[in-house]
Symmetry: C4
Subunit: 190 residues, 4 copies
């Protein structure tokens, strides 16, 4: 099987996730600067989530570009990735409604971490079906970066119970680490 329809379906789901997140966010209660300022944390969380979905999409784009075929295992690994990404709007709404308390902040990190696991599963499934000598396998390598990110997310989840903003800082840091190199080396992997 070719990669065309997998890419199309994934594009559709990611396009929807990235867009409907904004439906989950409550507007400022009044038309005042103070009310807009009070909405700033959730708007920044939306920005962070948008960037994260963008990073996943970018890397997905590059990875599938290097792959020639997909099999059933890759289809389900991809659905696993999309399942966890689809929960991002859900945890954002929870964060917004409860005002950035420890548990929802940890849940936000857990969802991003599980999406990263899904990305790794997809990577392994694609390498398995394209072969160890394939362009894809060479480009992906050992993907130490993804494993380090997972460890950082785990730390963030734990530290959310010390203070939510420590966790958020870690999530932002991981995103930066993925965002910046993408622009330089043009062979991003996640």
């Amino acid at each position: 099987m070719g990669t065309g329809r997998l890419e199309a379906f994934t594009d559709g789901v990611m396009a929807i996730i990235i867009t409907i997140m904004v439906l989950e966010i409550k507007t400022p209660h009044e038309a005042t600067p103070a009310a807009l300022l009070a909405s700033l944390p959730i708007l920044l969380t939306y920005l962070l989530s948008f960037v994260n979905v963008g990073i996943f999409w970018n890397n997905h784009h590059h990875m599938l570009h290097a792959a020639d075929t997909v099999d059933g295992a890759a289809l389900w690994a991809n659905l696993f990735l999309l399942f966890w990404m689809s929960l991002v709007p859900f945890v954002i709404r929870w964060l917004d409604e409860t005002g950035f308390q420890p548990l929802p902040t940890a849940a936000y990190g857990a969802v991003l971490a599980m999406a990263s696991v899904g990305y790794l599963l997809l990577e392994w499934a694609l390498v398995a079906c394209n072969g160890p000598q394939s362009k894809l396998a060479v480009a992906v390598g050992h993907d130490r970066k993804a494993l380090v990110s997972l460890a950082l997310y785990a730390a963030g989840i734990a530290l959310a119970f010390v203070h939510p903003w420590i966790a958020i800082a870690i999530y932002v840091g991981v995103s930066f680490a993925w965002f910046l190199p993408d622009r330089r080396i043009e062979t991003p992997r996640r």
Copy 2:
């Protein structure tokens, strides 16, 4: 007519259904483990629905891959399938709001059963327009599995009135039966 635009439209609708289901789910009322636990049943129903849409998409992908042409009857059979799938978010919301009572649980099974009928109609329409010797007709065969699934859904709908969790167990069982072979024989049909 080729199959391209039918696939694209179906991908779009399924991508939206699989994603907006999460909009229908109420977040936990508080930022506590107890509140998260109380949301577990509906989150698991979301997971079950996600897997079901994923199974339909996977099998649709394989079936259309084997088809060369579509006609008007196939377009409408496909819309019949999509109509019932589009009701999945609606019954999930009803389940969530009423707390897993018999009638919404039966309705959930009825919607999945009608979607399966739609899948069979699409299968028959495609076999009719691709011919009995086509690659598709050979791959599909008599599709006894789909008919057995329908009978099980009927049983689940009836047993929902004995106890909702019996019905849910049957729905989960049918999903497993479709999920597992897909990974082994790589020629899934539904």
Copy 3:
């Protein structure tokens, strides 16, 4: 310009319209047959709208299939069509919230009528840019059927103020007239 991206964008918008309509519908208040029955009118309106979007999509599919090129006028005629179709979920919600009163029922017909106007504008724009001898121009002809439909919608809008169900009956009738031939002659136009 080729027709590819116009088709892709239209598929996306129609896929979303056909799917999000269900988000607008309130679930039955209770888990009882009586409550489900009370939701029947709005569910049937959803079915009618689903069929109508399906008819538009089907005919759009056939029309673009016969076209070779699109120009700026066709892009905007297509957006005009999509604008009115995007209001279908809005009027459905209004119908649901006010309980099928005359004005929203008339508005529902007006939205379908304007979408039909958009379809005719797109038809004319495509004939103009593909030429009077093109496959498309021959297939489309004078499209008397579309003009008769428009007249019937106008009648339905007026009669909604006599009784909403007269209007609904006319809308259903027009949909049937478009739905049935599609399956027989395989060269549907709207």
Copy 4:
């Protein structure tokens, strides 16, 4: 990298934005002409937003049509554009809920202005990676029109605090300036 998947993802996001805006709009409170009239301002704002997304999509379509390749910078410039466009439904909802007060009206202009900045960034990124002699670079030129539009949006944002309708009039004017030439010269740029 080719432009195919960037176009597909952008089509998906823009299709969703253009469609879900209508979900944000409250229906008239009653089934009366007076209530419908009271909804007119927000419906016209929806129309204005629909036209603006349509203009962005049209110009994006033309620009990508002229481009041969995209790189990482173009992918992120495109995501920057989509981020600001995704906030359009959010500010429309805010406008609707607060009744067209100065701050949300200014915010609406700011979102459109930032989307225009995103469009310019994408234009520059594409020119940079396709080369100064490319078909794209010649077609785009200096894009004075986009810079003048930005200045007008800035004026609109400031004048929203004098009176919201002055700002709205400027936004409508800018949209007209983009809408009309598209139909005449067939080489729109934004």
